[in-house]
């Protein structure tokens, strides 16, 4: 049912599932310690649903690890309500505690209200606020590690976007985040979006949901199309981009100055400049 374009190998559903599970297991072994309370960032879309499903498969028998699902409701009319229903259903099915936080709770407004008239910045604003909301929800529920459903495509796109923006600190991840943010892991980062979709379809957990109405404005959309073309003509491109980033980050370790974080003077959240990006957005007209 699946052909790995980089190797030319064909895989049936069973072997695709085994291969994905192995990659996720490897990521967990490196990042998870006994006693961990794992918060799964669950939007209800295919990636985070597959993540929840796999973590449940791998961890449900372990008494030393606890799973809970965390959802951020940004307040995007005609979009988020569908995925919220899916998130509630999947957590009920696997008997996993589910907690939701809304943008309205942390900012007083929905994303639709916040970005009205500046839709071209919606993804940036949403990303910053979502991160803040997720950290708060995770802290409120005693989460020790946050697992997100970012896949290979997402990660390769982000690396390229950081290059295009000339954003070296984010490219090399030199922000001093230890002990400030709840650590994040990305167990699906070596699994492509296509593999995730096929796996979800084969397991009967795929739900076709609408795409975010703001995605049209994002730089990510341009980068995605470009990368998909490169992956077609040169299979393995996305994986090589991740390997390249890891090598560059390792080579620059100790050379680049770590950027210290200080509390935001408005909300107390850690930031670089004394005023966090979330508060900066909320104050700007």
């Amino acid at each position: 049912m699946y052909i790995d374009r980089a190797t030319g190998h064909h895989q049936c559903h069973h072997h695709l599932g085994a291969s994905i599970l192995e990659r996720v297991k490897k990521a967990l072994e490196a990042d998870i310690k006994p006693g961990e309370r794992i918060g799964i960032a669950l939007s209800g879309g295919k990636d985070s649903t597959v993540l929840l499903y796999l973590l449940h498969t791998l961890c449900s028998e372990r008494k030393d690890i606890e799973l809970l699902a965390l959802t951020v409701d940004e307040g995007i009319d005609g979009y988020r309500e569908h995925s919220l229903v899916a998130a509630r259903e999947v957590t009920r099915r696997f008997d996993i505690a589910h907690h939701v936080i809304t943008f309205e709770q942390i900012t007083g407004s929905s994303l639709d209200q916040l970005v009205s008239g500046r839709e071209e910045r919606s993804c940036t604003i949403c990303g910053v606020l979502r991160r803040k909301a997720l950290q708060k929800l995770a802290r409120d529920h005693g989460v020790t590690v946050l697992a997100t459903g970012h896949c290979l495509n997402d990660e390769a796109q982000t690396i390229l976007m950081n290059c295009f923006r000339g954003d070296l600190p984010h490219l090399l991840r030199t922000t001093e985040s230890t002990n400030v943010y709840i650590p994040r892991i990305k167990p699906l980062q070596m699994v492509s979006e296509k593999e995730i979709t096929l796996y979800a379809m084969g397991e009967g957990i795929y739900i076709d949901l609408p795409e975010c109405p703001y995605a049209y404005h994002a730089l990510r959309t341009e980068v995605r199309t470009m990368l998909d073309h490169l992956e077609l003509v040169s299979p393995g491109t996305m994986e090589r981009i991740l390997t390249f980033q890891a090598r560059v980050a390792a080579s620059s370790s100790g050379i680049m100055r770590e950027i210290p974080l200080i509390p935001c003077d408005r909300c107390g959240e850690p930031c670089i400049s004394g005023r966090c990006r979330s508060c900066t957005f909320l104050e700007s007209p």
Partner: protein
């Protein structure tokens, strides 16, 4: 006649000559990396070759989630 159901719900009849699904997608201007294909209801790799009466359904991979 191979009948193709596209993600935008359009339907295209593509003739009876055997063709690799990947080439079929290229003919339709679709990047195989961005879609999932089912042939006669079964998920299938793009390396497969169509037969005369096949029904091909193309699903666009939705982003996010």
């Amino acid at each position: 006649m191979v009948r193709v159901y596209l993600p935008d719900e359009n339907v295209r009849d593509m003739g009876q000559d055997p063709i690799r699904i990947e080439d079929l997608l290229h003919k339709l201007g679709i990047n195989p990396v961005e879609v999932i294909v089912a042939r006669n209801g079964e998920l299938t790799p793009e390396s497969e070759i169509t037969l005369g009466e096949d029904v091909i359904r193309v699903y666009r991979i939705s982003h996010g989630g």
